[in-house]
Subunit: 144 residues, 2 copies
């Protein structure tokens, strides 16, 4: 898994550094958890005290650009990072208003989602749907 990410780095002419490997390892270790840059920094620092916070931010930005990680905001005033799923572009999350935990959910449509979650003991109080792409004005600029 780590190897395949290194291959992507190589293929795009980016160097495979100790720092980048350490960051990928930290993220792999916490699979399924949505980490902040600082979470990753703190974890990597354990075995790699010289690492700088800038390197963490730079690396996450790079990994996001290469579609290795996905960067999302859960309205906390900071970003969280997780590995991209192979399926592509479906990111469904449940955010608990009580403890703030972020739980991944699989189902595909909202009403299914909501009733499935409610059956599992969740209470849904709100939801947000955001679509990304190109509006008609920007479309041609993008596709030409």
């Amino acid at each position: 898994m780590l190897d395949s990410y290194c291959k992507v780095l190589n293929k795009n002419r980016f160097k495979v550094t100790r720092q980048r490997k350490a960051i990928l390892e930290a993220m792999e270790k916490a699979h399924g958890v949505h980490l902040t840059a600082d979470d990753i920094y703190m974890d990597v620092k354990q075995n790699f005290p010289e690492i700088g916070i800038s390197t963490v931010y730079r690396t996450l930005e790079l990994l996001a650009r290469l579609n290795i990680v996905h960067k999302t905001s859960f309205d906390e005033g900071k970003f969280r990072y997780e590995f991209c799923e192979d399926e592509g572009h479906y990111h469904h999350h449940f955010v608990c208003n009580g403890c703030g935990s972020i739980i991944e959910v699989e189902e595909d449509f909202l009403h299914h989602l909501e009733s499935a979650l409610e059956e599992r003991g969740f209470i849904i109080t709100d939801h947000k749907v955001q679509l990304y792409g190109y509006c008609p004005e920007c479309r041609d600029r993008h596709t030409e």
Copy 2:
């Protein structure tokens, strides 16, 4: 409209100040647009140069607490504010990767949404769904 918001303030024992009215007016003027705190600050400043940016933030926080405005992040590193819809808790938005414009969309389910938008000339490259509420562990604490 403005009056009804003032009534909500009154009912909850908050004072109806010139600043609060000016902020509500600015938001009403830009109906349908998702404004940042700074957008509102700049606009109000035109007719009210003494207003402070802290007051804008404080007022928006208050209006959000009273369910008059809705605070959302579109992953730009800042928040945007819009009036709450009466229907309650459905917030669907399209964010253009080209120009960054945020367009409101009405339909209720994602596949409908996506095909409806594509018919209108949009290209959808990604979407994000976030549900908010209480997880089973926090549920009882919340309902008791």
